[in-house]
Amino acid sequence: MTDFILRRLFQGFLVVFGVTTVVFVITRLAGDPVSLMLPLSASDEQRAAFAAQIGLDQPIWVQFLRFAGDVALLDFGDSLWQRRPAMEVVFERLPNTALLIAAGLGTAVVLSIPLGAIAALRPGGLADRLTTSISLLGLAMPQFWLGLMAIMIFSVTLKWLPTSGIGTPAHLVLPALTLAMTPLARFTMMVRAAMIDEMNTQYVKTARAKGLGLGRILRVHTLRNIMVPFLSISGWELITTLSGYTVVVETVFGWPGLGLTAVQAIQRGDLFLVQAIVFSIALMIVCIGILMDVLSKMIDPRIELN
């Protein structure tokens, strides 16, 4: 196990190094960072001074080594927009995103397991058809639209919940539910399908022949067995949320997390902040991947980690 984790950490390091290189190449070679970051009105002297300040006058390999060294120290330079270290901004915004994801994905996980299980008990029954239809609806609604509709109904018309911002638990409700919708639908469909398969397995038949009650069969024999596919799909969903859903939802609800900050940094041409955010997300995705593998191994003894 330790062996496996070390090897995965090394692989993860390679991935992060790859991401770092790509970020470097795109920002240095695919465009002119100076004209991207400075206003149009900047004079040639100002441009040259800025280029020298961020090391653009050096040979490209010196630039890369400096960049890689800085990345290793989590130093991405100062955000031009915030006028403070980019990583500081990331660390300040990250907890907000983490809270939003925990609330949103947590809701999806907690609701999807009973919903999917109930639907699977009688495939084709009323509960099943209802759950399946609503899940399809959930998958069909884009989050930006769902978020705007939620604001219109619950904030503007009913005035139950704040439209945007952060601060109280009430502020969390709409963004978290909007974020939860797509994963909830996907999880429910997945739990339903996996449960139907599980209930038809020979070992569930054995469990029934042993005289075990339905409750025990569900708890002990099937729910645990669907955790392996559930874990891998939720890992995937967590990654999608981190690198996609949060950008949309945070923008719609003005939630000051990493996603909204990334959009603002891009709009302001704040290259260093964008780099810091991309790097942080890549690092988190690598860690999630390792964590999912280890958890799967803990649930299913048949999985060989080598």
């Binding site: 397995t201 020979q202 070992y203 038949k205 054995t206 469990a207 029934r208 022949a209 042993k210 005289g211 075990l212 025990r216 002990v220 024999h221 645990r224 067995n225 649930i299 299913d300 003894p301 048949r302």
Partner: protein, 329 residues
């Protein structure tokens, strides 16, 4: 014979499939005494497994019990006369092992945990006491190093060993009837013999009744007291093993015995019964075996009944002679 332990009375099981209603079991009647081993033989799709699953209460949608009854010690268990779901019969007094030991155990639970479920449920033991009992059971089915094996997962066991674990679970509650649904079909021949030997030994030691489902007449001859031959969802012949092998009354039984390879006979090729069993969506009116029978007559188109063929031996055929000799003549 004293009061039968298990009575199956005109049992019918239907399956509602997309292609139409399939009558998998069409009026099966059987009795089983205490300590008796009954062989239920027939080819694939003849309804042997469905009959066994019906007795175990394991028929699921799209299947349903369409008629008849199963009684346990005179008490209604399945079908007619059942008021509420009987508890503590299935799993405690009647247990079952299945054809494929590779998939019959939960892959994510240790063998000890799966044995422990039964031990806890029926013997009320927990913790160290349950573990000791589980180890004794593994020992009783011939698994060595039992206390170490308890913590292993099914994938660490071979097929034969997994079937032994299944048997250990099936005898944990000290049942009175064990239904073995083709317990050796998925195993190597040498392992087959060991498993059958184990079953025979356990029967002697525990006074179990066994229903052994198989399509292998050799297994029946070695282990069973009585045989019931199924064809197309019906029982076509029952009798003692000796009687059936000596004087098979139904052409299908005769054909089965004829097509069993023998070590002591010099034959160029294996003998088989030509044709295939009828589909059970529209079961034939008369004898279901008629299209394949060499001795078929016009009277075979009429519905057939089981008729006495000697003491404790019934067959549902009018021919009463060796049809295959007649056919060959």
């Amino acid at each position: 014979m004293n009061d039968p332990l298990l009575e199956i009375d005109d049992l019918r099981v239907d399956f509602d499939t997309r292609a139409g209603l399939v009558q998998a079991v069409r009026g099966v009647s059987l009795t089983l005494g205490r300590g008796e081993t009954l062989g239920l033989v027939g080819e694939s799709g003849s309804g042997k497994s469905v009959t066994a699953q019906a007795v175990m209460g394991l028929i699921d949608v799209p299947g349903r019990i369409a008629g008849g009854a199963v009684r346990w010690n005179g008490m209604p268990l399945v079908g007619e006369g059942v008021r509420r779901r009987p508890r503590r019969i299935w799993g405690r007094e009647i247990t079952m092992i299945f054809q494929n030991p590779m998939t019959s155990l939960n892959p994510l639970m240790t063998v000890g945990a799966q044995l422990g479920e039964v031990i806890h449920l029926y013997l009320g033991l927990r913790g160290a006491a349950a573990r000791t009992r589980a180890a004794e059971l593994l020992d009783a089915v011939g698994i060595s190093g039992a206390s170490r094996r308890l913590d292993q997962y099914p994938h660490e066991f071979s097929g034969g060993m997994r079937q032994r674990v299944m048997i250990a679970m099936a005898i944990a509650s000290e049942p009175r009837l064990l239904i073995a649904d083709e317990p050796t079909t998925a195993l190597d021949v040498t392992i087959q013999a060991q498993i059958l030997e184990l079953l025979a030994g356990l029967q002697e030691k525990l006074g179990l009744s066994i229903i052994l489902i198989t399509h292998d007449l050799g297994i029946v001859a070695g282990l069973c007291h009585r045989v019931a031959v199924m064809y197309a969802g019906q029982i076509v012949e029952t009798g003692t093993v000796d009687d059936i092998f000596a004087r098979p009354g139904h052409p299908y039984t005769q054909g089965l015995i004829r097509s069993t390879p023998r070590l002591d006979a010099v034959e160029d090729r294996l003998v088989s019964i030509d044709g295939t069993p009828p589909g059970l969506r529209t079961p034939p009116e008369g004898c279901a075996f008629r299209p394949r029978c060499p001795a078929a007559q016009a009277a075979c188109h009429a519905p057939q009944r089981l008729a006495s063929h000697g003491a404790g031996h019934v067959a549902c055929c009018r021919a009463g002679v060796d049809a295959w000799d007649v056919g060959a003549a």
